[in-house]
Amino acid sequence: MRGSRFAHFRFARPRRAPKLSNMFTDADFEGAPRVAEADRLTLDLDGWEGPLDLLLTLARTQKVDLAKISILALVEQYLTFIADAKKLKLEIAADYLVMAAWLAYLKSCLLLPKEQAADPSPEELAVRLQLRLQRLSAMREAGARLLGRDRLGRDVFARSAPEGLRVVRKSAWSAELYDLISAYGAIRARNEPAVHIVGRRPVMTLDEALTRVERLLGTRLEWAEIRSFLPETQDSEYRRSALASSFVATLELARQGKLELDQQSAFAPLYIRAA
């Protein structure tokens, strides 16, 4: 897997900044870091922004284009730097040590005869490291160039006291004539004394049903369904009323012993005949 080895390293931010620094302790971030000599890198309290940052600073001491840098020499510089720091018993954050270990491994691979080299090749790992340094360096320079631009509020100024633009909200009310007159109608209707009229509903009274069933019973000899006793009508409400009343009428007539009822099961047709 390409680069898988490198990907194992996560550069955790040191809990405490490593106590290694260099001459540009007062580093003005608005300018590119100045190049420092390796031997002038001094140790003090200012932190580095991680191992890659330290590597980049060391790389700059080679005074060549990052693309042409000697990775082997850089590895050497880093390992020496860490060794010196150890000698001074400085606390070194884990990720710097991890980087050191990885660089030591890279160095040994680079020095091994080519045939024994693993995949990815040490050369590729070296190029990867170089690319990472270039990328970081490019962004560091880009940041410095951004900050050096004519910045609003520092170099160029907008109007300090603009009159301001205002949006005045105005409501455009809308209503339809129908809304108006129906509202008025509703108000008047609300205040009219209400007259309640109960509409007549078509019903067959029980008396009517009794008379009717009793009369029809005399004309039938066999069992007949109760529905055949109902009047013919298109009015469904009247039919339901007639059915209910006629049913109660048959129960009454059965109680009086004037007819017999027969039903096979619940909700099955109800048959009646004269007793």
Partner: protein, 195 residues
Amino acid sequence: MNEVGEDVRAVEATLFASAEPLNAAEIAEHVGPDVDVAEALSILEEQYRGRGIELVERGKRWHFQTAPDLAHILRREREDAKKLSRAAVETLAIVAYHEPVSRAEIEAIRGVQISKGTLDVLMEAGWVRPAGRREAPGRPLTYATTVGFLTHFGLQSRRDLPGLDDLKAAGLLDPIDAALEQLGQLELESEGEEH
């Protein structure tokens, strides 16, 4: 406009960036002692005359401001369409049918009190206006509709409002029970036709 001396540019930028009007001495503090501030100011005043921005002097102090005749474009009006509330529609209807009408009368007809805002909304909409005080105890203020009201509702005059008879014919005056029943019948009829 582009040919402008360094002195003028400096004074121009200084006035533009300043939060407050500046007098000549204050300008000089920024642009330096070698600049003829008075001359630069008079050149600027001349150059900006008639533009959308003007250089003006107020009590020996100078500042840029937008030209007064353009004030209207800096304040943009935005109309939000809003539907009248039910209370407002009812109130408006009562005013239209009964004008001039006092607030107490409106409440008596509606059977509900009206909030202060209701009449305000109608007046803001330009449909209702105060119409003098009634010569009665308390001299209550009365309200009436406006020409704007007629225009908005497409009426020639208030006589175009449907009268009570018209409302009754349209079913708008029926008691609610009856209206519902009527509605029910209409539904039955239309269903019947379909089947």
